[in-house]
């Protein structure tokens, strides 16, 4: 195949730089803002360079919003809980879709995709009433219960693609040898599908972490249960907005997802697209 000529190479790198400036711009701005003292932010005219950058905001933010640590914990805790229950629902269902033929199989798979279309925002009113009926408003469950529901559909599709890759002959051989269904599931399927389950878990965790905002502002008004995304509004005070601390807290607040992402990014890129491309 032909090699890239030098001008083409330079042009492509140039495009890549532009592309990534767009992708990373808000993060760079956030980080930069978190390092600048508050009074410098309002300097006019705009200055690209500040002479006294510091990590002061990262220390001060815990005093400005005393519950900040709690908010980050809440976000993490709720995302983990949602992930756990999502897997509990999704693993058997995905296995069933991958291995068995039954009436309404294709139809129900499409209905699952349709669930994604309705997203949380469309169904908020009855959800609000439902949660109120069961006295779940203003609890962790108010954000966990709907969170699980909207993680299930895509997770089933993801994991189903993984299960389908495991040769059915393996199971048949075990079946012929007299292994029970439960044995097959726990001793053959579970170990072989661990990577797929990990990808699904990561996906569910990221989505659960991201979707908390809507449920939090709608179904919860108790400060102690707030996730970080809605807790950030507390930096907006009566007198002034502590912008630099807000940005610092945002960066610290996304650490849980970023850590999950950095360690497992290889699986995410491969796993998310594995099932999609085939069709």
């Amino acid at each position: 195949m032909d090699k890239y000529s030098l001008p083409l190479k330079i042009f492509m790198y140039f495009c890549i730089v532009i592309f990534f400036i767009f992708i990373l711009l808000p993060f760079i701005e956030m980080f930069y803002a978190s390092l600048r003292p508050l009074k410098h932010l309002f300097r006019s005219p705009y200055q690209f360079y500040s002479d006294d950058l510091s990590f002061w905001a990262y220390r001060e933010m815990w005093n400005t919003v005393p519950l900040l640590g709690r908010y980050i914990f809440n976000s993490f805790f709720m995302a983990v809980t949602v992930t756990f229950f999502t897997l509990l629902f999704v693993v058997p269902a995905a296995y069933s879709y991958a291995r068995f033929n039954f009436p309404f199989k294709q139809g129900s798979l499409w209905v699952l995709l349709a669930v994604n279309m309705f997203s949380g925002a469309v169904l908020l009113i009855p959800l609000f009433k439902l949660l109120r009926t069961f006295d779940l408003l203003n609890t962790y469950f108010a954000m966990i219960v709907p969170g699980i529901a909207f993680c299930i559909p895509t997770s089933i599709w993801l994991l189903k693609a993984y299960f389908e890759k495991i040769p059915v002959e393996l199971e048949e051989a075990a079946y012929v040898d007299g292994a029970s269904r439960i044995d097959i599931l726990t001793k053959i399927i579970a170990p072989l599908s661990t990577p797929g389950i990990v990808v699904t878990a990561i996906y569910a965790f990221i989505q659960a972490y991201a979707q908390q905002f809507l449920f939090a502002i709608t179904f919860n008004s108790i400060r102690e249960y707030m996730p970080i995304v809605s807790g950030l509004t507390e930096f907006i005070g009566y007198q002034s907005v502590k912008w630099n601390e807000m940005m610092a807290a945002s960066i610290v607040g996304v650490f849980p997802v970023l850590i999950v992402f950095v360690f497992l990014q290889k699986y995410i890129v491969e796993g998310l697209t594995a099932g999609a491309v085939k069709n």
């Binding site: 269902a93 169904l123 950030l232 997802v257």
Partner: protein
């Protein structure tokens, strides 16, 4: 023969299959199915915190008669259309760049994902900063270059706020589109390219005649998925402008939210939610219809 019958019985519809999917299905029926049904029912009532009475089609009549609603609907379609278009174009450019055998592409592939990984609410905060008139970089560069006379708050004016929220939505959606286009490109058999190269096809021709047709299914599914998620995109607008200034960024979903949970008019809010569901469903059906028409044409011609 004996072996085959074993195979069939192994894959046959069983009680077990239903038992395994039952928990997920029942959960979704309670948390999504029932609320969907309830939304339809409430849309025919004047439900509020106080109580509810059946009012027939009154909510819908009001809705369809108001010019405000049609304005909001048109605005939502325009916002969605351009946002999806930009996502697809940028996603394609990004995928081509990340697919090229350049040094550092492994890192590029990781770096493209943060907008998708980070909660939208926090990404939106970052963009609010970028758009800020006094300390945002866009306004700063504009002043330095002499394009702007003074601080310009992008979110404070109707047109710029409309475009600014759209750009943020494009930013949120682009990584996902890029990732799937990239995966599609990598699944294209390599020998197709080699054969074309031997026949003297240049880079652009190879892209146009091999890559594009090969990844068409991915393009089609991504445009549908993006369109639907953009149509009901909530966090970005709600955080950045709350639908303002003067309604310039109020989309259907924002309008629904404000009506239902800002004013506690559950009935009228539900009618709006039903309209959204109907619009999405109509769009999806129309989309699939168009798709099958195109497929027929392609296979016949």
């Amino acid at each position: 023969m004996k072996n085959k019958s074993k195979l069939v019985s192994f894959n046959s519809p069983t009680f077990l299959a239903y038992v395994l999917i039952a928990p997920a299905v029942i959960y979704l029926l309670c948390i999504v199915g029932w609320p969907l049904f309830e939304t339809f029912r409430l849309s025919f009532t004047n439900a509020s915190i106080a109580g509810e009475d059946y009012v027939g089609f009154e909510n819908y009549e009001k809705l369809l008669a108001s010019s405000k609603f049609s304005k909001i609907a048109i605005r939502t379609f325009v916002w969605t259309f351009f946002s999806v278009l930009l996502k697809l174009i940028l996603g394609m450019i990004g995928a081509v760049l990340l697919n090229a055998s350049l040094r550092g592409r492994t890192i590029f592939r990781i770096l493209v994902l943060p907008p998708w990984v980070v909660p939208i609410a926090i990404g939106a905060l970052g963009w609010m900063w970028v758009y800020n008139g006094h300390f945002g970089i866009l306004s700063g560069i504009g002043i330095r270059l002499g394009i702007l006379d003074g601080p310009f708050s992008f979110l404070a004016y109707k047109q710029s706020a409309f475009i600014a929220t759209m750009v943020t939505d494009v930013w949120v959606g682009t990584p996902f589109v890029t990732l799937f286009f990239l995966a599609g490109m990598q699944a294209v058999p390599k020998d197709l390219y080699e054969a074309a190269y031997c026949d003297g096809a240049g880079r652009f021709r190879r892209f146009y005649h091999i890559t594009l047709p090969q990844i068409t299914p991915v393009i089609i599914s991504m445009s549908l998925i993006s369109a639907v998620s953009t149509f009901v995109s909530f966090d970005i607008i709600f955080i950045m402008t709350e639908g303002g200034p003067r309604g310039a960024t109020t989309t259907l979903i924002i309008d629904t939210y404000k009506m239902a949970l800002g004013n506690y008019k559950f009935g009228r809010g539900s009618a709006r939610a039903v309209m959204i569901v109907l619009m999405i469903t109509t769009f999806a059906i129309f989309y699939f219809y168009l798709l099958s028409r195109i497929n027929k044409k392609v296979s016949h011609g």
